[in-house]
């Protein structure tokens, strides 16, 4: 009896909340907000709120074409692997309260690595569809991965050093208790936002699927349901990284839970989405070499500077 009960609760976590269903709905709404902000900044009206859901339903009902030259098994399985990795990582991030479902010490590293699995699947997607555009796209995905991943990881480590813990929960609790110390991390926060733009492949760094150069990038050969799942995975990833930024840099839910926690979560994650879309609207695409240059010459040194500041601050707190 106990086992069945636990099984049902576990399935609820995975499928409904905070798993698949929550991520899909919240991801869709975030995508809409992102597109709406973007449209408003271009002085237009933008899509209606149901737009991402209409897109997904339409894609799900379309025919799936698998090219003859593609690796069929990989081609079909990869989108689900990406979704599974993102779905797993949400369990370690606190959402409506300051405690995560399955938090453990060192979970921040686990989350960062789980979040790079979707990028790896993007590479494999391009590689297994064997079309020249997709192959070029996947090479760019990898090049970009090595550029933004290091600054992102270093930037996220700053708050951990300050809080003296490797668990996301502890970091959120630490900032809840000392909200002013959030200001110490402002450089790291900005570095993380810019690096996320590369991780989510959005405008200044959307080089892997630059429409004007390489058609659809890694997605060129994807159609119908499989492409829908891939879009869903990217939406879900946006929610998860926004939740991560919220927990690590913005103090989680400030100790509240329930409805106030929910409200704070929505406000702060949408604030992160807003910052991401401001960057998207304000910039044009850069070339891949400029992107790598920028990440290594500017982002990484700033992230390291942030770590130094955090170490100094840590000594000052401890007296």
């Amino acid at each position: 009896m106990e086992i069945i009960k636990e099984l049902i609760i576990g399935l609820f976590y995975i499928i409904v909340f905070p798993g698949l269903l929550f991520l899909v709905i919240y991801g869709g709404l975030s995508e809409w907000l992102d597109r709406k902000f973007y449209a408003q900044m271009q002085n237009r009206q933008g899509p209606p709120w149901y737009q991402p859901f209409a897109d997904i339903i339409k894609l799900m009902s379309k025919q799936v074409i698998i090219p003859k030259a593609a690796d069929k098994k990989m081609f079909k399985i990869l989108p689900f692997i990406a979704i599974a990795a993102i779905n797993t990582s949400i369990f370690m991030i606190p959402i409506f309260s300051n405690s995560a479902l399955y938090g453990f010490r060192g979970d921040i590293i686990a989350v960062i690595y789980l979040l790079s699995i979707p990028t790896a699947t993007l590479f494999l997607i391009g590689w297994s569809s064997t079309s020249p555009y997709a192959t070029i796209g996947s090479m760019r995905v990898l090049t970009q991965l090595f550029a933004y991943e290091v600054p992102l990881l270093i930037a996220v480590l700053g708050p951990c050093i300050l809080a003296g813990s490797w668990s996301i929960e502890d970091v959120a609790v630490f900032f809840t208790n000392n909200p002013w110390l959030m200001l110490v991390n402002i450089i790291g926060f900005l570095v993380a936002i810019v690096a996320l733009q590369g991780k989510l492949e959005r405008v200044p760094f959307d080089i892997p699927h630059a429409e004007t150069e390489i058609v659809g990038g890694v997605f060129t050969e994807y159609s119908g349901r499989l492409y829908g799942f891939m879009r869903l995975a990217l939406d879900m990833e946006m929610v998860v990284v926004a939740a991560l930024i919220n927990a690590v840099f913005l103090g989680g839910s400030f100790g509240y839970s329930g409805w106030i926690g929910l409200l704070l979560f929505v406000i702060k994650t949408e604030f992160v989405v807003f910052l991401l879309s401001v960057l998207k609207a304000a910039m044009a695409r850069v070339k891949i070499n400029q992107m790598v240059d920028f990440c290594w010459k500017w982002l990484a040194p700033f992230a390291i500077l942030q770590i130094l500041i955090c170490i100094v601050a840590r000594f000052m707190i401890n007296g």
């Binding site: 009206q45 339903i57 074409i65 004007t212 997605f219 050969e221 492409y227």
Partner: protein, 145 residues
């Protein structure tokens, strides 16, 4: 009942989210400029859920401009075959509808409907962006029936 509901949802989503692909099969470029015009923020067709897609695999509506030349016929056919069903074709401009001023030219086969089935014709030389948007919206509203 559930099947009915599902069908309704699918039709609704198809009407609300037409992704377009633009293809030039031998136009004088007048129609292309108007098509690109329609995609600018001024007309804001993202209101209707229209997005311009680069890859035929993602698109639902193929916008073809210009008369089909003998060189382009094979390519047009291939692009059409690469699209995932259900797919629609809109012929933009007098040339795409029938051959227009290029009709009877030695290198020209004629209108788009000689090569692939066309769902909507938008006449004009070139048609205004408003006409284009109206055409796509009308095409989608026929889906309801």
């Amino acid at each position: 009942m559930i099947k009915n509901l599902k069908e309704k949802a699918v039709t609704w989503s198809r009407i609300k989210s037409p992704w377009v692909l633009h293809y030039n099969s031998g136009s004088c470029n007048g129609c292309d400029i108007e098509t690109l015009d329609a995609l600018t923020p001024r007309f804001d067709i993202e209101r209707f859920g229209v997005l311009l897609k680069g890859s035929p695999r993602h698109a639902d509506v193929l916008l073809v401009t210009g008369a089909v030349t003998k060189q382009q016929a094979k390519r047009l056919r291939r692009v059409y075959d690469q699209m995932a069903a259900p797919k629609f074709v809109v012929a933009i401009g007098a040339c795409a509808c029938s051959g227009g001023v290029m009709y009877g030219c030695y290198g020209v086969l004629g209108g788009v409907d000689k090569i692939i089935p066309v769902s909507a014709y938008i006449p004009g030389c070139p048609p205004r962006p408003e006409a284009l948007i109206d055409g796509v919206v009308k095409l989608l509203s026929t889906l309801k029936k």
